[in-house]
Symmetry: C2
Subunit: 115 residues, 2 copies
């Protein structure tokens, strides 16, 4: 049930190391060794994360066997933005309600205090 593209993308993003790798690649392509440098992690462990990102289409890798630079591919992130954007009214709404609540407090209306 979780092999649809969006689920694969969300699963790939559900890890802080993988998100840190994407953040690094936002500054430009990098080799596995360069990507591994900031992490206290073995190259095979980093490679495993890269495979997850590659499978999700979030990165692409160069073809040269010696130097296979990783590049960010933001296509799936655009799909995430599209999906989450449908809910924007709900968090905008939450802030509106918070605003209303704060305004009522400032105006001295205390009828919604817990009893």
């Amino acid at each position: 049930m979780t092999d649809d593209a969006l689920s694969v993308t969300f699963a790939a993003l559900a890890d802080p190391t993988r998100r840190a790798i994407l953040a690094r690649l936002a500054h430009g392509e990098a080799s596995v060794t360069e990507l591994a440098a900031p992490f206290t992690m073995s190259l095979p462990a980093v490679s495993k994360h890269l495979k997850v990102l590659e499978r999700a289409g979030l990165i692409t890798r160069g073809r040269s066997a010696q130097w296979r630079p990783c590049r960010l591919d933001a296509g799936p992130l655009a799909d995430v933005a599209d999906w989450v954007g449908r809910y924007q009214q709900f968090w905008d709404g939450s802030f509106d309600r918070l605003d209303d609540h704060l305004r009522q407090i400032q105006e001295g209306r205390t009828d919604d205090r817990p009893t």
Copy 2:
């Protein structure tokens, strides 16, 4: 390594049933039975998905023991939108590059053809 809030949110969203539940709740609060209706899934299976969503803060549940309506809580989705928004320049950029590429093809420039 995956117990930070954003990772928990992404993991919760990495399932089409859970995303469908959120889409349903965008139309208003609903009981577990109402949420289970469109799925060929047992109530316990749906309850398990709801627990994942609740743990991620994506839904809240009423306190009455008999009728515990689920409600969408879009706060974590705002965090997702904030995170993914940082990459917007990259998919906008991708479309720009695609535009450039298509323009070059239309102009008869074929020097980037694979050899």
